[in-house]
C-alpha cells in the first residue's frame, strides 16, 4: 500500500480542518481515503470485480461520513478508518453470503443487455426523483441523473451554490424517507 507522508499524519489534519467546517479539506480527505481504502476493500470483495469494489468502497465512504463525529481530534485516523472499513466489509460480506450470487456468464445469451433496455435501476431513479416536486426535483434531477456539478446547476437555475446544496440535500433526505432506506 502506498504511504505518502500525507496519508500518515496529514489525514488527521485534513479531517480536523474538515470538522471545523473546511469543505475543501473534507473533499480532499474523502478523495485521499478512497485511494487508501481501495486495496483494503479489494481484499474483501470475493469477485474483485471493479463494480463490486466500487460499491463496497462507496458503502465505506458513506459510513465514514455518517460516523465522522466518532473520530476524536488528535487520535490517529488510520485505526479508526480501518475499523469502520472492516465493519462495513464484514457486513457486506455476510449480506452477500446470505443472498448468494449467481454467475450470469452462462446466461449471457438469454439476459437483456442492460444498456439498451430500460432497467430497474433507471426506473427506480425516475420514480424516486418523481416523488419530489419543484426546485428539489429540478436540482436532484440535474445533479444525480444528468450528472451536472453543483456549480453548473446553480447557474442553470439562477440559484446560489449554497441554495443548490440545501435543495439537493433536502431532496435526497426526502427520497430516503419515502423509500425507507436510511
Amino acid at each position: 500500500m502506498p504511504r505518502s507522508p500525507l496519508r500518515k499524519d496529514g489525514l488527521g489534519e485534513l479531517l480536523a480542518r474538515a470538522m471545523g467546517g473546511d469543505e475543501a479539506a473534507y473533499r480532499r480527505f474523502l478523495t485521499e481515503i478512497s485511494t487508501v481504502l481501495k486495496p483494503f476493500v479489494m481484499r474483501w470483495t470475493r469477485s474483485g470485480s471493479p463494480s463490486d469494489v466500487e460499491d463496497l468502497l462507496q458503502e465505506v465512504l458513506i459510513a465514514v461520513h455518517q460516523k465522522r463525529h466518532t473520530w476524536r481530534q488528535g487520535e490517529p485516523v488510520m485505526p479508526w478508518l480501518y475499523a469502520i472499513a472492516k465493519y462495513k466489509s464484514i457486513d457486506a460480506h455476510r449480506r452477500r453470503r446470505h443472498h448468494g450470487s449467481v454467475d450470469i456468464g452462462d446466461l449471457a445469451e438469454t439476459l437483456d443487455d442492460p444498456t439498451t433496455v430500460p432497467n430497474a435501476v433507471a426506473y427506480d431513479v425516475a420514480r424516486a426523483v418523481g416523488s419530489l416536486s419543484g426546485r428539489q426535483k429540478d436540482v436532484v434531477s440535474a445533479i444525480s441523473v444528468e450528472g451536472h456539478s453543483i456549480e453548473e446547476t446553480a447557474q442553470r437555475f439562477g440559484m446560489t451554490k449554497g441554495a443548490v446544496r440545501v435543495a439537493f440535500h433536502r431532496g435526497l433526505s426526502s427520497i430516503a424517507e419515502t423509500f425507507g432506506r436510511k
Binding site: Y26, T70, D91, V166, H169, L172
Partner: protein
C-alpha cells in the same frame, strides 16, 4: 453513482447539515440510577437493618462487587462507542476480569469460612423468587437507555457492546437490589445475581444484534 459524485454529495451534506454528536454514557448512567431509584424506593426499598448491615463484610463485599461491575461496564461502554481495532477492544475487555476476580476471591473466602454442609443453604438464600425478577425488571429498561450512547456512536462490535450494556444495566439494578436483599453470602451473589445479570447481558446482546448495527 460514481465515487466522485458520491464524494460531491457527501461534501454537500457535510456543509448542509449540522454534524451529529457523540453522546457520553455518564449522564445516561446517572439517569439510569435515578430511574432505578424511583422504581426501587416505593416498591422494595432498603432492608430495615441497613445501617447495621453496612458494618458486616459480606454486605459491603456485595455492594463492592456489583458497584465495581457497574463502574467497569459503564467505562467499557464509553470506549465501545467508537470504531476500534479488534486488539484495542479485547484489551479493554480485560477490565472485566477485575470484578470477576474479586467475586472469585470472595467465593473462595466464603467456602473456607463456612462448613461444607451449609454451602447449599447459603447459596439458596432466602428470597430467590424476589431476587431474579427484581433485578431483571429494574435492569431491562436501562438497556435501551444506556445503549443510546452506542447507537449514536459506531460500535465495531454491536452484539458485544449490547451485552456490555446489559451488564451495566444488570449491575446498576443489582446494586439497588443488594440494599434490599438479606442474603449476603458471596455464594448467593455469584449464583443468583450472576444469573440475573447474565440474563440481562444476553438480552443486551440481542438488542445490540438487532438495534445497534449501523
Amino acid at each position: 453513482m460514481k465515487t466522485d459524485q458520491l464524494i460531491d454529495s457527501l461534501v454537500a451534506d457535510h456543509a448542509a447539515r449540522p454534524r451529529p454528536a457523540l453522546l457520553s454514557v455518564w449522564p445516561l448512567a446517572a439517569l439510569a440510577m435515578l430511574i432505578d431509584l424511583a422504581l426501587f424506593l416505593p416498591t422494595l426499598g432498603p432492608r430495615p437493618d441497613l445501617l447495621s448491615a453496612i458494618g458486616t463484610w459480606r454486605f459491603d463485599a456485595k455492594l463492592l462487587v456489583t458497584g465495581l461491575l457497574a463502574a467497569v461496564s459503564i467505562l467499557l461502554l464509553q470506549r465501545l462507542r467508537r470504531p476500534q481495532p479488534a486488539r484495542a477492544i479485547s484489551r479493554s475487555l480485560k477490565w472485566l476480569l477485575l470484578p470477576a476476580l474479586l467475586l472469585a476471591l470472595l467465593v473462595g473466602a466464603e467456602l473456607l469460612m463456612v462448613p461444607a454442609d451449609l454451602w447449599r443453604a447459603r447459596a439458596m438464600g432466602t428470597n430467590v423468587v424476589v431476587c431474579l425478577p427484581a433485578i431483571t425488571a429494574m435492569g431491562l429498561p436501562l438497556i435501551p437507555l444506556l445503549s443510546e450512547a452506542l447507537r449514536r456512536g459506531a460500535p465495531s462490535r454491536p452484539t458485544l457492546s449490547g451485552a456490555v450494556a446489559g451488564l451495566a444495566a444488570g449491575s446498576i439494578a443489582a446494586l439497588f437490589y443488594a440494599s434490599h436483599c438479606t442474603s449476603d453470602s458471596p455464594l448467593f451473589i455469584a449464583s443468583w445475581y450472576g444469573l440475573a445479570i447474565g440474563g440481562l447481558a444476553l438480552a443486551g446482546a440481542l438488542w445490540g444484534r438487532f438495534v445497534l448495527r449501523w
